[in-house]
Symmetry: C2
Subunit: 197 residues, 2 copies
């Protein structure tokens, strides 16, 4: 295979990138020339070589303990459990949370053959047994989906008997949404979760 | 900058890739692991190092003369002039054309400061003066845009006095389109270019 066809083929392995987009990206790389190509190649290899999981919270990091775990200003009493690193980043962007995290790297999905042992639940338990004087509340911030709810329920059943206060992030109407256009399941959750004013 | 942030930044330099998509691509690379990363890095560097312009038609190639120019079954009497390599590939996909090509790598666009010397017009003339016994017809397949039309006109004015038969690809209704929804300029071109049956 010639180098251009090979580049298009490799780029086409990205999710959501078909042959057309892969071709467009390949031509962009060729137009940019060798400096951009070297930057890209180096960034790709360095990221996969140097980035691993935080020993404590399983967040991605290029050091042993991630920036959030190492930050002494974070509240050690609060632990927020998320499915993915992307979820952690979304919560950080909200600037609403100052506690620590635990990343499961997945959710329990029996239909896809993903059980509790396939996600970082063991690591969560190990960590809580070490830190149990510190953590006051575990916030389950898995997705409001079938898998996310099942994962939250599973972890709640493990942690409650151990004496931890366990909470679940609220489901309801997204800010700025129009009730007329919100799906029925979300409206139902918003009603169930209503708060007295 | 940590390796993950750096990878996201480099990926964000692709056209049409914002921070969100760059982050998604970076996480995909990390999940795939080091083999995919090495494949990608190598494909990127090899493509920019090995792929250059065909000596004859300016198509992209990793050999001196591209596969199309080297193919003796192609009709040397027909020469199709296109703006970009992508246009050549689109024409190849139509399987309607069996002649050779010349890629200009751009179109004349005075407003963007692109003149005739900034695209491969010199190379076209040099080539035609060498091959003039062979080429019977030059088909101008630049885009039906202001720049494409200007470029076609410019080349036609150079080649006609040299005795070449020069043609322009047809503009008109796209196949499968509905006249009701086709823009006025296209309908006007389809009427001007009508053919007797």
């Amino acid at each position: 295979m010639d180098p251009l066809a090979r580049l298009i083929q490799v780029l086409g392995r990205f999710p959501g990138v078909g042959e057309k987009t892969a071709t467009r990206l390949a031509f962009f790389i060729l137009r940019q020339g060798s400096e951009f190509a070297r930057d890209l190649a180096q960034a790709v290899v360095e990221a996969t070589e140097k980035v691993g999981y935080c020993r404590r919270c399983q967040n991605l990091t290029d050091i042993e303990v991630c920036m959030i775990c190492a930050d002494t200003r974070r509240d050690p009493n609060l632990l927020c459990v998320v499915e993915q690193v992307q979820d952690l980043r979304a919560i950080e962007r909200s600037r609403e949370y100052r506690g620590t995290y635990h990343v499961l790297h997945g959710a329990i999905a029996p239909l896809d053959g993903v059980g509790p042992d396939d996600i970082k639940v063991k690591e969560l338990l190990a960590r809580l047994s070490q830190e149990n004087q510190e953590v006051q509340e575990v916030i389950l911030a898995t997705n409001p989906s079938v898998e996310g709810e099942a994962t939250a329920l599973y972890i709640q059943r493990l942690l409650s008997p151990m004496g931890f206060k366990v909470s679940r992030i609220a489901s309801g109407l997204p800010m700025g949404s129009d009730i007329e256009y919100v799906d029925a399941a979300t409206i139902a959750q918003a009603l169930v979760g209503r708060r007295l004013l």
